[in-house]
């Protein structure tokens, strides 16, 4: 029981980090970013290159990896997505092309073997008789901290207010003197950064290989649909629902069924309440 509680919290936190960035960039810039999974994979690989090949200590390598991926996100948005923003299908296609290109680039450079990234915390801990690796706990703590920081940033700062304004009405925000294009760059940087951080944090205990980004992206999709496209609190609630129901399914039935949970949740949500739990705009 306690085991389900703890492991469910860890996967919820990781999902939330992925989903929040995904929903943020949709809510603010209306970009449905199919390359979100590649941010996650790039984060993990950046951590691998910096620690294993360049021998940079991990506490330096992790923020560096996050910054690199955030920069990659900004460049992608500026030069590939922005010129095509008029057509929704074109945006879907170009972000998909980016994700395919990243996956193949990783495959060509690193091959398909699994790579190892060192853990931040090597010790195993025990909470109420449940053994858990320190790295998983760290992922949980970091996830909660990131979400809290993001929440405070959006609610309390001037820049956060500008982001909210753009998400409500980009045109009106532009007329009020908010530089919408710069806001888009900032938002994609945050989005790519949180996804990369999730990648860095899970890489020690999950497999690092070129196609690792696909499944997390499908999960992020699912969470964002269930929580409501564009709503940050909604995606956090949905992360908890999905993280826990997957853990429960893994314990009660089998791990091979876990991937179905999110997909079934998507279909049910779309049938009963297409705008999601806390979605603002109606889907139909």
């Amino acid at each position: 029981m306690l085991q389900i509680l703890i492991y469910g919290a860890v996967s919820s936190a990781i999902y939330a980090m992925l989903a929040v960035g995904f929903t943020l960039i949709f809510g603010v810039a209306r970009i449905l970013n199919l390359a979100h999974g590649s941010f996650y994979a790039l984060g993990a690989y950046a951590a691998y290159v910096l620690t294993s090949l360049l021998k940079i200590p991990l506490f330096l390598a992790a923020p560096l990896a996050v910054l690199l991926v955030a920069g990659f996100g900004v460049v992608m948005e500026r030069f590939l997505v922005r010129p095509l923003r008029q057509s929704q299908l074109a945006v879907l296609m170009i972000t998909l092309a980016v994700s395919l290109a990243v996956e193949q680039a990783l495959f060509l450079i690193f091959g398909s073997e699994y790579r190892n990234v060192p853990s931040f915390v090597a010790e195993k801990m025990s909470i109420g008789g449940v053994d858990i690796s320190g790295q998983r706990l760290l992922a949980l703590v970091a996830g909660v901290l990131v979400l809290l920081t993001l929440w405070l940033f959006i609610q309390r700062t001037r820049l956060g207010a500008a982001i909210l304004a753009v998400s409500q009405d980009p045109e009106a925000a532009q007329y009020m003197g908010i530089p919408t294009n710069r806001i888009f760059s900032i938002v994609i940087a945050i989005s790519a950064g949180t996804a990369a951080l999730a990648g860095v944090l899970v890489s020690p205990f999950l497999t690092v290989q070129p196609s690792m980004g696909l499944l997390p992206m499908v999960k992020a999709f699912a969470i964002v649909i269930v929580g409501g496209l564009g709503s940050i609190p909604g995606s956090i609630i949905a992360s908890l629902i999905l993280g826990y129901s997957e853990t429960i399914v893994a314990y009660l039935i089998s791990t091979s069924w876990t991937e179905l949970v999110s997909l079934v949740a998507v279909v049910i949500t779309l049938m009963i309440r297409p705008s999601g739990i806390l979605g603002r705009r109606a889907a139909f």
Binding site: L89, A90, L96, F221, L260, V267, P274, F284
Partner: protein, 309 residues
């Protein structure tokens, strides 16, 4: 969409003749096989274009119908071992049933929701295939299908004929009153509804037609490969089809079919580049998105025929 002119018909006849006669000049089973796959992709791409291109509802899970048709053929052959020719109509029926199952809840949705819902539905089916591996053969899939026609060359001609019929039927439908309504729905759904058009009926019906042809293509593919496996349901298949339609020019149907043939040939030619092949493919896609936002085939043909007139 403009009316079909004599030049269009002449161009189509020349193209089909070249395709049909190509294996006679370079007689190799390899080329015949590649061309068969080309024609099957043509069926998939034009069927995608009929529903999504006309109504503007991008279907990111076309592989759902393709896989459903292929697996129907697989089950019929391996479990019930019926006459292989029965699998074509059955596959169409099963694919249409799936389109009803998925279409009713999802087609009411707007914008990216339909795309995502279809994507998830096809992913669910792929997972189900792996979970119920006792029946579906798991990763390996089903083996031992009978070919519909023994001679590869004759089978190629049969598939090519199916492609031609598909394109003709879909083009005629798209040119009819029906197609006009579908394009009106793409333009402004609310206005259509206000004008008393049963929007949901038209969308579901067009999805059924699209799914039926995709399922037919799936069954043809299964009888060509003599085997079906879960990757048929994968997102990559759907995406490949969408890229083909994009290159062909969305909403033109014939463009989708021609682009499918050209891109399949291109992929085959790039096989020499080994691991770099997919990279070149992706970069080509990016260049097309940037420099040819309306696609390549249909706009090119339009410009050519205007010169000739």
């Amino acid at each position: 969409m403009r009316r079909i002119s004599l030049i269009d018909i002449a161009g189509a006849i020349v193209l089909v003749a070249i395709l049909a006669l190509a294996p006679m000049f370079v007689s190799s089973n390899y080329l015949t096989g590649v061309l068969t796959v080309c024609a099957i992709y043509g069926i998939w791409a034009s069927s995608w274009d009929f529903m999504s291109g006309l109504t503007g509802r991008e279907n990111f899970g076309h592989s759902l119908f393709i896989g459903a048709g292929a697996y129907t053929a697989g089950f019929l052959a391996t479990i019930w071992s019926t006459n292989p020719w029965l699998s074509l109509p059955t596959a169409v029926g099963v694919a249409i049933a799936f389109s009803l199952l998925v279409g009713f809840p999802t087609l009411r949705l707007r914008g990216p929701y339909f795309a995502l819902a279809m994507l998830s539905a096809s992913a669910i089916l792929q997972r189900l295939c792996l979970i119920f591996w006792e029946y579906t053969g798991g990763e390996e899939g089903l083996y031992g299908l009978d070919p519909l026609i023994r001679s590869p060359l004759h089978y190629y001609w049969f598939v090519l004929a199916v492609l031609v019929i598909t394109v003709i039927v879909l083009t005629l439908l798209a040119q009819s009153h029906w197609g006009l309504l579908l394009r009106a729905i793409r333009g402004d759904e609310a206005t259509c509804q206000a004008a008393g058009i049963n929007v949901t009926f038209y969308k579901i019906a067009s999805l059924m037609i699209s799914a039926g042809f995709a399922g037919l293509g799936g069954a043809l593919y299964a009888h060509y490969q003599l085997q079906v496996s879960p990757p048929l349901f994968s997102v990559v298949v759907s995406i490949t089809v969408i890229i083909m339609v994009y290159v062909g020019g969305i909403g033109s149907i014939y463009g989708a079919a021609v682009a499918a043939i050209l891109l399949t040939l291109l992929t085959e030619m790039l096989r020499g580049f080994g691991e770099y092949r997919l990279w070149i493919y992706t970069l080509t896609l990016m260049l097309i998105l940037f420099f040819l936002p309306n696609g390549l085939i249909a706009p090119l043909w339009r410009r050519l025929t205007e010169r000739l007139r």
